[in-house]
Symmetry: C2
Subunit: 224 residues, 2 copies
């Protein structure tokens, strides 16, 4: 059996770093893709580069698409504040169509590199309620991917792998620690500063902090 190539979407956060570690542990030759989309926490892009190397990807790429042009999210529009307590419904940190776009970019690169697997670190348990993190979304994209590409026409297959989909945040952290992920290098905070220091108050910080506490593991996050 030859090499199995995979594209791994790597944001620089805790979840996608764990997804990369899982893909590597399953023997995939991994290429990592980070997307610069006008996010306020652009420091995560540095983290992605570091994590890609630490976790043994063969190549890292950063693509740019300016979702700030579209707006509609606290993550891409500096006039909308990041909430520092829980909110009802889909939070304002939701970025319209972000995962659809990321998967589309990964799909193009998968096709060119002969990769039949795309890993994405979405999670539908300890998550912020984003519509494009749900299991139905992932399977709909897999169906689409099978039709969208050369492989689809020529009888190939394409799997969207979301290994964290049904895991708790604590479970994700335990798995990652076992696989050697250095969570001190990951950035979860929506408003992290240039020194990779977290605010400790946004939704993403809250989920991360609770995850380490529940897992009973030391939290390496540096708070500002």
């Amino acid at each position: 059996m030859g090499e199995r190539n995979a594209i791994v979407l790597l944001s620089g956060g805790l979840d996608s770093a764990t997804a990369l570690a899982i893909a590597r542990s399953q023997g995939f030759v991994c290429r990592t893709l980070a997307v610069s989309y006008g996010q306020r926490h652009a420091v995560e892009l540095q983290a992605a580069r570091t994590l890609s190397r630490q976790l043994g990807a063969v190549e890292h790429r950063q693509m740019h698409v300016d979702l700030a042009d579209i707006g509609g999210s606290a993550l891409t529009d500096s006039r909308i504040a990041v909430p520092e307590s829980a909110t009802a419904g889909i939070p304002v940190t939701y970025v319209p169509a972000r995962n659809t776009l990321f998967l589309a970019l990964a799909l193009g690169w998968a096709e060119v590199t002969g990769s039949h697997d795309i890993f994405i670190g979405v999670n539908a348990v300890d998550y912020s309620g984003y519509p494009d993190c749900r299991p139905d979304f992932i399977s709909a994209f897999e169906t689409l991917a099978g039709l969208a590409t050369r492989a689809g026409v020529e009888g190939g297959r394409l799997h969207i792998q979301a290994p964290l989909l049904r895991m708790s945040k604590a479970g994700i952290i335990r798995t990652g620690v076992e696989l050697g992920v250095d969570y001190g290098q990951t950035v979860s905070c929506y408003q992290a500063n240039d020194q990779l220091e977290a605010c400790g108050r946004c939704d993403s910080c809250r989920l991360r902090r609770e995850g380490f506490a529940t897992a009973g593991l030391p939290d390496p996050t540096r708070y500002a």
Copy 2:
């Protein structure tokens, strides 16, 4: 009944200009989206701007994403020549995952602008055999769109409108002429020059030329 907003993907070519004219004739308030993706025929982006205004869109946006980073296509990699005669299978001008990406960008903008319809000028009759122009692809994207967004969660709907899907090139041209499309402003050629002059030899030129001939209408294309 209130305003019906639509996003129209507008490349600057013959098909998407016709799709815009159709959307307008159906009473949609249209926002047009062109994507600069590193295409060799970037002159089509100028054409898109002109056509958007001529055909009465309320807003035009150009987004950038560099698919040249991904490569794998004659349209984004200058080292791969554009074929000047018919080829078997999926041609090298196919850009991996291009329509998935374009629709993802349109989806984000649709969500922010309260648009429940996205128009795309794909055609599965007189076309180049690209996988992401097929009816199954369009319906799979519509399913995905219903799951990917806030509207999907909150019970809204999103339609992917592909009015040209089953039309012949001649039929598209006849429809557009009736609706007042100025085809002299559209660029179909994959290697058009800065003066919007076409090569007359690539697949896209060939389909366009045959379309005008079959429709029995004068071809306003200027050839280099």
